[in-house]
Point group: C2
Chain length 227, copies 2
């Protein structure tokens, strides 16, 4: 394949050579809706940086703010300290199933994965950072922010948030049943998919919760939700 | 903190400065059992490499082989092609819960995360690679390999496996209820943890499955299992 691939008027053209998915490209998409869907399902992103020429990958809490990713951490955390105009690769993966085929070779995983390449910039203005923190809260429990005491200036300063554009992003998805060699379909072997689901379960109250405090409706509302 | 930290006879001393968890170090461990427990719970690892000086993070199927990680991919995939003695950072994260505190600031996530720093080497011998592939199958469905037709030489050549030592690994775990500022415990706010669980669900037969083939006991056995 040549660079010309990037210039075709296909509905599925990578925005740059850097983000181009070369391997199993029939599973890839660069469509913003497809990217957003995966990002919005993820809670944890794996954030890659380069330190002394070597790769470092750490998990961070992620939320989408329009056409950007926001990444949450402590200001002292390495990636936040290094995060002033630093190259990052942010990858989010949702595992959806074990694909059990009729041969070992065609076993696979069903998944949704988004890879975002960009430059991480710290969110620094107090108002902008407070809005970012509210998006993280909204991701955990919609409307919970309104129930909490106001966040102090010190707390806002004490939290690091990085911002990465979603302009350079790709999505890869595998779904559906196994794809076997034609001659193997006659084997008397069970084949199919074992779904993998990640769900929010029954809330566990803090042992130090004061008597008489009921589980609020906004927390109850997320129970059973699937990522 | 100084490098002397690395030389203390603490039970929780990082094996090198590279793998030393500086941030929230009270949550970190370098103990092999703790590392193995996280690795054995993970199915997908996020594998970081450096390409043209920039970070690249891709998800790969992971399994543990004693004191090494094995990573599965197609031979043509970038990280496998680059994987001959290449520096990698392999991170595996299990999300365990949303930690809902009494202030926005103390909200958090419960998780188990392992970070492995090392050099990825391809598994090349045919026997060694076949054994590696059997470990991946055992990870999906224990004992299923015995039910399948033998893997062909061509299929073995058509699969890439990377090996990374677990010698340089750290684990970070957050668990339990929120930790709030002492004065906030009097607030009338519900606080606690919403557990997040990832489970294997009810198998979905391949639409092309021949009539009369029942779900085997070894697949049935993993249904309901929690990662």
């Amino acid at each position: 394949m040549t660079d010309n691939v990037l210039e075709q008027s296909s509905p599925n053209v990578p925005p740059s050579e850097e983000v181009w998915v070369r391997r199993a490209s029939e599973r890839a998409s660069y469509d913003a809706d497809a990217v957003n869907e995966v990002v919005d399902s993820a809670v944890v992103a794996h954030v890659g940086t380069v330190r002394d020429g070597k790769p470092v990958v750490i998990p961070m809490f992620v939320v989408r703010d329009g056409d950007h990713l926001l990444l949450h951490g402590a200001p002292a955390a390495g990636v936040i300290r290094r995060g002033k105009g630093v190259d990052v690769c942010v990858t989010m993966t949702l595992l959806d199933g074990l694909v059990l085929a009729r041969s070992g070779f065609h076993h696979s995983l069903n998944y949704r994965s988004a890879v975002v390449i960009g430059v991480a910039e710290p969110v620094e203005g107090e108002v902008e950072k407070e809005q970012a923190l509210e998006l993280f809260m909204e991701r955990l429990v919609p409307t919970r922010q309104a129930d909490l005491r106001p966040t102090t200036e010190k707390e806002i300063r004490g939290t690091g948030v990085l911002k990465v554009s979603l302009a350079q992003a790709s999505v890869k998805v595998r779904s559906g049943p196994p794809v076997d060699d034609e001659e193997d379909y006659e084997h008397g072997m069970w084949a199919g998919v074992v779904p993998v689901t990640t769900t929010f379960g029954e809330p566990e109250a803090d042992p130090r919760l004061n008597d008489g405090i009921e589980l609020p409706a906004n927390v109850r509302a997320i129970v059973g939700r699937v990522l």
